[in-house]
């Protein structure tokens, strides 16, 4: 069972199915704030849905209004269970705090690429691959 230590950004525990991308994610314009569908046609995850997933990507990009997209997803019960970034930037930081989603950064996300079930502890920054 592989375990990695990153930086805790927002507290809480989550365990679930991984949704992984090596491409940065723009929440505004990239993800439908009502459904959690990835709507950016140029993104490799186009057509997938973030709801209930452990969402792993290198970092956020685009408009800072993206934080409100993360918040809206939580309001509509379509938010990821947790977010793991390599280097979290202010859009995602503000979003996970407002939405109260466990979040960790400082992880080399390529180590998670093949995983299917992952456990996240936002209090300690520990990520475990369970399957």
């Amino acid at each position: 069972m592989a375990e990695f230590k990153g930086n805790p950004i927002y507290k809480g525990y989550a365990r679930g199915e991984l949704l992984y991308t090596s491409q940065p994610v723009s929440f505004l314009g990239g993800i439908d704030p009502e459904t959690g569908d990835i709507i950016d046609k140029k993104h490799e995850l186009y057509g997938k849905n973030v709801a209930g997933k452990i969402f792993v990507f290198p970092h956020g990009k685009g408009s800072t209004v993206g934080s409100y997209v993360i918040y809206n997803l939580k309001l509509k019960n379509k938010a990821p269970l947790a977010i793991i970034n390599e280097k979290m930037e202010p859009i995602v930081v503000a979003g996970v705090i407002m939405a109260r989603i466990p979040a960790i950064d400082g992880i080399n996300i390529s180590f998670l690429r093949q995983a299917s079930i992952v456990e996240v502890d936002g209090n300690t920054g520990i990520v475990r691959i369970l399957g």
Binding site: L28, G29, T64, V65, Y68, N72, L75, M88, I97, M98
Partner: protein, 397 residues
């Protein structure tokens, strides 16, 4: 990050949930950038105002802050709204959108924020001085504040700016620190003729696309007017990551330019900016827009002069702030423009107003608008200077 006893109390929730959450956001952002501490700010510019982009989430979030009793404690100004509060019907906005937008604005007001609704707060009375710490969050205004005033702000976002407004502070990192403000790339300009305001905006967009997060110092660029700096700021800011520029011999932080050891150098001339004009070269616009960022009084005087006794044959919209529009009304410019069939809107802008899918081709003198309109309005774009825009607006069909 060091927190004073008072700041710790806020973070522990002793002043309520709204202030606690604002402090959490500031502290978390400060931690990821290794900020030593928080620094007080003189003013804040808040983004995430238009219902088009911020949607219902901002309504819920603002209500949550208000219910906790939170209020801003420094002068705080708003970015453009999705509507001109007096004239949204004329722009073809739906009542449903307008009501949501009015609700958002009223919620910002209840936090104690000024209903300024402009991307040019400096034309609406908000100025800053060299070295002054701010938390601004409109991409063109951020660049302008850092570069024209020599003030200090990072590219804040909606929630981080709102948090800074509630606490009156921002984490001390990035451009708040002297050592992070040195230019890192020299841009040698090679223009034998004077640049129009549109050329300057296009220069900004062109340079911004290759600069990434670098800080440029422009050489051989003789631009001093506030409008030219507004346009350069807008073009650079629109490209994505530039927050500060210097111009040799002109901007306030010449000491940084003189003492920088820069290896990287880019040359920019007409060929480069012509490339941007070629990229935005669609024909037959059904809408022509100017005032991105918002026009000032001289712009309106000029447009009125050119439209006197003429009639437009294509929709021609001019965007500005409430303050400038009031003065322009008093001077008679708005009457002249509207007699010609043009429209002067305040509070909103072509990028955040809900005009998507209504105009297949939009013409503009703004590189910033050109950059955003394809995705935000689903339109093709033509960039040309204001004289060409007016010429197109009044031409015989």
């Amino acid at each position: 990050m060091y927190l004073s006893r008072e700041e710790e109390k806020i973070l522990n929730g002793e002043y309520g949930d709204g202030y606690r959450e604002a402090m959490e956001i500031l502290v978390s952002i400060g931690d990821i950038y290794n900020a030593e501490r928080l620094v007080p700010v003189s003013s804040v510019q808040v983004a995430g105002v238009s219902y088009k982009t911020a949607r219902d989430a901002v309504i819920v979030y603002l209500k949550h802050l208000i219910s906790s009793g939170a209020k801003v404690c420094v002068p705080t100004f708003l970015n453009p709204s999705g509507i001109d509060s007096d004239n949204w019907r004329i722009m073809g906005v739906t009542r449903e959108f307008a009501e949501k937008q009015e609700l958002i604005i009223s919620l910002f007001r209840r936090l104690g924020i000024y209903e300024s609704c402009t991307c040019t707060p400096y034309f609406a009375g908000l100025i800053a001085s060299k070295g002054e710490h701010l938390a601004w969050s409109e991409s063109s205004a951020v660049v302008f504040a850092n570069s024209y005033f020599g003030a200090r702000t990072n590219r804040e976002g909606g929630p981080s700016a709102l948090s800074a407004a509630l606490i009156g502070k921002t984490p001390l990192y990035g451009l708040h620190l002297h050592e992070n403000r040195y230019p890192t790339v020299r841009i040698i300009c090679n223009f034998d003729k004077p640049l129009s305001y549109t050329d300057i905006g296009v220069l900004g967009l062109c340079a911004g696309r290759v600069l990434g997060t670098e800080i440029p110092v422009f050489e051989n660029l003789e631009i001093r007017s506030v409008i030219s700096h507004k346009m350069l700021s807008a073009g650079l800011g629109a490209s994505g990551a530039v927050a500060l520029y210097h111009i040799k011999g002109i901007t306030p932080e010449q000491d940084l330019c003189e003492n920088a050891e820069i290896e990287e150098k880019i040359e920019i001339g007409w060929k480069d900016i012509q490339g941007i004009y070629d990229e935005y070269d669609a024909d037959n616009p059904s809408l022509i827009v100017t005032g991105c960022p918002h026009a000032n009084i001289d712009d309106l005087k000029y447009i009125a002069k050119k439209l006197q006794n003429k009639r437009v044959t294509t929709q021609f919209w001019i965007f500005t702030s409430l303050q400038v529009k009031s003065l322009a009304e008093r001077m008679g410019y708005v009457d002249i423009i509207e007699q010609a069939g043009g429209r002067v809107f305040s509070d909103t802008c072509p990028v955040v107003a809900p005009i998507e899918d209504r105009f297949s081709v939009i013409m503009t003198d703004s590189a910033k608008a050109a950059n955003y309109l394809p995705s935000m309005a689903n339109a093709l774009v033509k960039i040309a200077d204001i004289d060409s825009c007016i010429e197109e607006a009044v031409k015989d069909v």
